[in-house]
Subunit: 351 residues, 2 copies
Amino acid sequence: MKDIAKRFPENPLLSPSDIPPSHKDLQIACILNPGVFQFDNKTWMILRVAERPEQKKDAISFPILTETSSEVIEISKNDPELDYTDARVINYKGADYLTTLSHLRLVCSDDGIKFYEPENYPLLIGQGIFESFGIEDCRVSYIEGIYYLTYTAVSPNGVAVGLRTTGDWKNFQSHGIILPPHNKDCAIFEEKINGMFYALHRPSSVAIGGNFIWIASSPDGIHWGNHQCIVKTRKGLWDSARVGAGASPIKTDKGWLSIYHGANENHQYCLGAFLMDLENPTKVIARTHEPIMMPIEEYELSGFFGNVVFTNGHIMHPDKNTVTIYYGASDEFVCGAEFSIKEIFSLLQYS
Amino acid sequence: MKDIAKRFPENPLLSPSDIPPSHKDLQIACILNPGVFQFDNKTWMILRVAERPEQKKDAISFPILTETSSEVIEISKNDPELDYTDARVINYKGADYLTTLSHLRLVCSDDGIKFYEPENYPLLIGQGIFESFGIEDCRVSYIEGIYYLTYTAVSPNGVAVGLRTTGDWKNFQSHGIILPPHNKDCAIFEEKINGMFYALHRPSSVAIGGNFIWIASSPDGIHWGNHQCIVKTRKGLWDSARVGAGASPIKTDKGWLSIYHGANENHQYCLGAFLMDLENPTKVIARTHEPIMMPIEEYELSGFFGNVVFTNGHIMHPDKNTVTIYYGASDEFVCGAEFSIKEIFSLLQYS
């Protein structure tokens, strides 16, 4: 198999051993799924860092956040009420838990390849009862001087979309949960359209429906309505089980271009693209039939959760044709790849 | 078992044979779950009317809405790809369908007991691609001269909450989907609080979380944010599997009183109540431990989907103590019962 991604020869750009854990009792299991933005003349990533204690042979242990701090839950693998068949989510006594606790970490780079942790910038950790299982997969949208951070907020209440805003990456304002469960993969457009904010998001259905991409609009970026389903899974194709938007759509002459992830029943995650009308983004006018990127390299095939490429961050180049996507590989590493927008367009099929 | 509901001796108030189907080729399988409001000096219900063709012995058939009209899908019961173990939702070739198509029908009454169809008022039917499997379980909230209709909008895209508004019940404005899948049981408060609209709603989670009651706020009644989970299921109790708000909460001196439904693992649906802070309804201050109403009567125990009492409409009496709830019994009949607010309060347990 081949795809049209030009992977960085330096991949993976970041591995769990490259940054220190947030606490001496924890280890970093994965760093993945970076949001990406430009700030202070540098390229920045806001990484998802997934941590847990050193794992004993016969037990599963993971931290959760409490009101003031955190605690570790440890469950024997012999416990008949434990189901740990999925590396990411376990079920114990009928309740689901994440096997790792994620926070968001800032790193920056002068060349877009070598990233380092800047001094005097905070970690972003889960806050309050709707983020006690952590925060994940942050998209960053820069709109009228403000950075909008949309991320997955996980807690026993459910999996939902949280929003924080910042101007300087040191002071943040929380706007709570903007999309209720079960929802992920929310990317706000970086421009208002006809005076309204727009966002892509991915609700999931317990019956009737599926894991589809929806679009919503908002007068203020905080309160959302007019939800419409615009991209569905496709039976028999690489995106048959779930689809979800990547970073904020790219504005082109021909429309808003979204790079999205799709997974099939075997949990293989690939990337594709679709195009929305410039004036009315609820209208999808084209979509790639084949993926534009598939897990091929060793670091994409094997890891914490293998066979995965997943993106929620990119940088457009000044040539207006090259886009560097940063992506999570195997839910464990952070990698980079370039695409030609023209090449992506050549794979779009107009409906 | 006993409960504190004073059922109308006239129950059921309405049965499927009491009103004509919307089309000569359809039969009414159920009338249920009425929204209730006062208008033109009468008590009105907006019924959910669930229809399907006459059922052949060896097949399941049901209508769905198309862009301009409707069509009937018929599936042989011998088809190995059909699962019809649930009377309400079937699965065929991996996709879910409803066994009936619901629309909303207005009836009115001078005494709150005998209801009849008024002349020259329209049916409300599903419109557009997000309502092609019908519209259900409408709550009506009267706010500053406008009736807000929140209802379940069902389609292959998922189960979501739609909003229409009206002033005269003849002309309606659609505001699309205000809460994306999977969501139901949305009731808007009939007063703004500190300048904001508030609503209860019930998202469902595919993993982590559950079927819990959330609250959200809105500057305009159309765009919603700041979602917070406020009422959860309780293991081992009558509301262990799902909870969902009834009609708009009742304003009392002590707080906003919500009558809600809860179901257990055996799909027995009962009613309970909880109380929210007057100034900050995100704060739940009390909740009944036992149900205030359980399926006891024959018409509540047997029907299209038995063992169910479910309410989404009520009328407060001028005495400020008596509330008449209208409710769906066994997903087939419309019934009424009175409660004393004082008695409900006597069962509330403060936390």
